[in-house]
Subunit: 399 residues, 4 copies
């Protein structure tokens, strides 16, 4: 029988802060009540701050990030539209697959898993697209499968430098609210996230921010859609309502999690993610293991994908961690299966939790046959955390 | 400031039983953990019992009932397919609208709001469709806007009597798990419900049961789809997993709510809904008011739509109830706005709750100007409940 | 199997408001943490407002109101001290019994159950006690067994008019935070309550307010005590700590319930209790039944003890209510067993809940053989609630 | 702002398992309902299994372990009775103080803090007490302040070897349900625990098991008592009820925590505590620090009291841990203040949690000026956990 906490270190769903859990434990309510908008209008407003957009529109679709991907595509593009995408991990690959299924003409650039969005190649192809045939450019900001963060701003510059008018789609599912993301500044047109990552909620909401340009495109886009139709949402959201029954308990949780994000400060949230992630990476280095991310410029502050030694099956590491030590690591997906395990380090987290992940990873790696010195990764992370510790986190009046 | 319970009498979301609320208050977990299927496979199995199907396949889409409507259509039909639908309330109207948006050729039969599915007219048209151009027939089993239950079995007979092969789609959002529904016996091909009605959960899951015939159709159906794709779900669901992150907390709640349904007995659940609903209807009759449902054969056991007197604005009844008496009634939708308020009586309910609804409706009606004798509706319902009370509900050992 | 809410109408524990339930659902914490006092010091401060005392000291004993009774006695009196008490219900009787067990010389005045504290007789005896042998006078402010509220202020006047120095003990378990109580103004020395009544929490805390005079008495009182020792509490409470582990989850709930009380306004809370109680009493009168309380001056605004007709066993009413209609009424205690059932109407309550109690009482009475006209009590209460309804309870901006 | 879990490593309250938290999140209920005993009678029965007694009686007093101490004394002893006690930590000292306050003639043996109950000296004094003047012998089974476990069985043998009839009182607050304890086998007469330790609940219940001999003594014991009176409890507990309102939510939690204890197996629970504690101790040794416990025979499996280096203020370690790393360690009490910090390792715990405690202790110690090698304690514990890991904790069917 398992005892104690289940240590959750997958890259989403993330650990839910206690106050957020409290806030979701509500009875049901009438989503057509006259004061319902008091709750929801504030959510839309504050989510815009999370996306760092003043002019965009935020939608909350009951569903998942995958649903928000579909909403983004079907509302703004037309069947057969040419789009530019790159594939360097399981989630960017799935997005390509979705685009193809939905009838887009996808120009895919395959990149090694471990690299990020090929900004220069994007620039080249956009520059070559003199007729403006490319209607949209897709970037997976943080590839959750490989722990790689891409340069969205660079893609914006590539677009701008050739005056290209393609829409810029960004999958920010595992970056937004955790890694620096600037919708307006970077000219992102469609930014997708989900509730179960940096927003520290259960799965259940696909969250999508849409630029004015993309909203305009949605008025004429001819792709078939119904459930994910922007205009239905837009009309009812204006006063805080929804075209179908939304998961109100998640809204209460979202209210509380947004309050937490702004109480900490969004910049501080992002800085904390970086500091905690760096501790994990130093731990990995101390083990003598490699990240999938090829270069520090790609290192993700929300998830580290760690290559096991060649003779160690990563699935075994994960299995032992789960069965024996009550910890959930992320698995290696698709071509990384058996070669990689992942430590998610995003959301509501602190030093102690990251050290737990490292200490149990050491136990699991060792049990799976890896030559890892006990305590080595923990020590490297501790050193970093000690060096970078804020003098005092909470203020307590002198006794 | 409001004090005391908020009395929730909308036809969904419904009141969540305490044990179900408890069960949902869980930390997040890894939806790829090796034992995750222990939870989910049982849900699929037991949901089949709720749909009363042995051979069907059940899907749980993160989303809403509306999403499940879309899943049903896009997976089994082709663009331009002719379908037969009827419109007699807001929800059947919305379904028609969705079908049109998704590119179907919808043959709509408009019926007075207050009547149900025009079974004879369906039979006539199906009989006339010698070439089998009608690919699907849609029935809204329980029209939530009007409190009308339709004869699904009759439609099956209409299909069978002319050997018509159209798929039979049923919207059972506000009937399944509350009103008698028999998927296999009635030959339903696609049956839709949501989590927030008879399943007594928050909104967040679109639940869909699919017959073998419809599953076969999905293999060749050419309508564009991605998020709602059956085959992705089917493949992963087989071992208890999902193609994208599902709302695991709802699964824990669903486990508990299914346990409750079977502990009570599905037939008993249905009988209880009828008995409680009949009490409400007798109350309405005692007030001298009319239901929207035109005929007792149409009376819904999950929601009563009540016409206010001509000089009383139903919105005022609802507003007073909400502001002054902390009760949520359902509003009159579309053409019924201002003329109708609704009492939802489904899910986790008992006599006392129905009497609360009636007593507060009396207060709200009176305050809005209706001539309703205080206590009259309550008394009529009490009489019925007393006459039909089970001798003893719980067994308590002799002291 | 029971379905729907369990309707709770005992006079404590009372229904817990949802936000209070949320607040209590916390992980454990260190009750010696440096910031723990941030929580507890505010509780002591705000509880003083509830007791309406500026100069008193409030103690929170893990335990029950009975424990707080004992704390009050053992800290301020000496073995063999003469005290004046009156007995007119089960709880005043139990307090007498405790005083005797603890070694006091109790002068008991027995009064008919249904009357309250015999103020004039108290005045007579105090006036006759020229030597000041009576060290304390006890008053049960609200006798929960009979639904009788006594005149505490009158007892203070009786003491003052003969310049008697006895301590004034008040059992306010079922009155404080629900019925007007004024510690300082009435010169109460020891006021007892529990968490599970007007404070809308689970049982688990005995709450005691102590005047400066009683605190002074505690410095020399020689009765044996340890767990309930004031001085241990006093010393540690000063900085927000406790001499033994307190139930921190209740403190979080208390914080939220105090916030609610002050958001509504203590005077408004008291007025609401009166209004809701009066509705219940009018319902009882409409049934043709009598309260135990002999005179309107004694009517309790927190609980009504209702005599069943001579040929109807009140236990049967309660049993039927519980088994068949999922409602808990209070039972008749001691000599009232079988003759009385009680409706608790205190704490987090509204009109709808009181009407539920009345409608289910009608059903239960009828099933037990009482001749009660269905809807009659409900109608009487509805009339009163309608007449006294605030124009609008919540503010909703014009649509 | 603090983020992430608060790591709780005080020796109680302990971490509450999620299912136990779920179970406590209930609405209030009637503690006089006819089926209430269904819940409580099972608790009494199963608590006897935890105490390992067949013939004893278990009481659940709303209060704390301190209250249960008082109940044990006041129900079975007489004023002026001579009792034998020993003092070797803050909690044994407080028990002595209580006994004196309650009027016992306490013969105290002072022992160095770090040693345990002086069994031989007990034997000597009992042997010398030819007249049987010693009415009771007290043993603190696990001294929470020093992390010392004493030999209760040895004291029983001391009593038996001289045929002494004194009652044997045991404070098992931080041992019962975590460290081997055998009431019947060891002839314990009064065994005290609280809800917030091995029972994994919030504080709020003093739990007391009473032998038949002690029950017999309670019939004639003359010490004043009321709230803690056995006979009131005994009478009502017989059918599952209580003399005053009990904290029903804790009962639901207790039901679930007992279920967990027996699902794991009480012997397994005890073995787990030993294994996890040994890991912590090996970590401490690796740091080069000493436990307060003088000898391995005294090592407590529920709490380790750790001496900081002479030049490091332990309060600083604790403060830094709390403020900077969101961890609560136990403080050094009384004479150990500033010299000792404690790691509680009892209740719902696993390897990862113990490693978290060690890794954050290393960071806190270092920040407070101690020369502790990062990762050293963690590594020592990991080695132990790896060597002693069960092959597979949970059964997962082969994929």
């Amino acid at each position: 029988m398992k005892t104690g906490f289940t240590h959750l270190f997958i890259p989403g769903p993330t650990n839910i802060p206690e106050p957020v859990r409290q806030a979701m434990n509500v009875p049901m309510q009438d989503m057509r009540a006259p004061d319902f908008g008091d709750l929801t209008l504030g959510l839309f407003k504050d989510l815009k701050r999370v996306f760092r957009t003043d002019t965009g529109t935020v939608f909350l679709f009951p569903g998942s990030g995958t649903g928000a991907w579909e909403a983004a595509i079907t509302n703004t593009l037309n069947p057969g539209d040419k789009v530019l995408m790159s594939r360097f991990g399981q989630f960017s690959a799935l997005w390509v697959e979705m685009a193809e299924r939905l009838g887009l003409d996808v120009e895919v650039i395959d990149v090694a898993w471990g690299a990020g969005c090929p900004v220069k190649e994007y620039a080249r192809r956009l520059g070559a697209d003199k007729k403006g045939e490319i209607k949209a450019v897709f970037v997976t900001h943080n590839e959750t499968a490989t722990g790689v963060t891409s340069d969205v701003e660079g893609v914006r510059k590539a677009l701008d430098s050739c005056f290209h008018e393609a829409l810029l789609f960004v999958d920010g599912v595992s970056s937004i609210a955790s890694i620096d993301f600037r919708m307006d500044e970077w000219g992102v047109d469609l930014a997708v996230t989900g509730s179960q990552k940096g927003l520290m909620l259960p799965a259940g909401l696909g969250v999508l921010a849409v630029s004015q340009k993309a909203m305009a495109a949605s008025k004429t886009a001819t792709m078939r859609r119904a459930y994910f139709e922007f205009s239905d949402m837009e009309k009812l959201n204006a006063t805080g309502y929804f075209p179908y029954t939304p998961p109100t308990q998640l809204f209460h949780g979202l209210r509380r999690s947004l309050d937490r994000i702004f109480a900490e400060g969004l910049d501080n949230v992002i800085a904390r993610h970086h500091r905690l992630a760096e501790g994990v990476r130093r731990g990995v280095r101390a083990w003598g293991l490699n990240l999938v991310a090829e270069h520090p410029a790609f290192y993700s502050d929300t998830v580290s994908a760690i290559r096991t030694p060649a003779d160690v099956d990563a699935r075994e590491v994960i299995r032992i961690g789960y069965e024996r030590y009550n910890i959930s690591f992320g698995t290696g997906l698709a071509q990384l299966s058996g070669k990689v395990f992942r430590i998610g380090h995003l959301g509501d987290l602190n030093e102690g939790m990251c050290l737990t992940a490292l200490s149990l990873a050491e136990l699991s790696l060792a049990a799976a046959g890896a030559k890892v010195e006990f305590g080595s990764g923990v020590a490297a992370a501790q050193k970093w955390y000690a060096e970078t510790a804020p003098a005092c986190r909470i203020h307590i009046a002198a006794e």
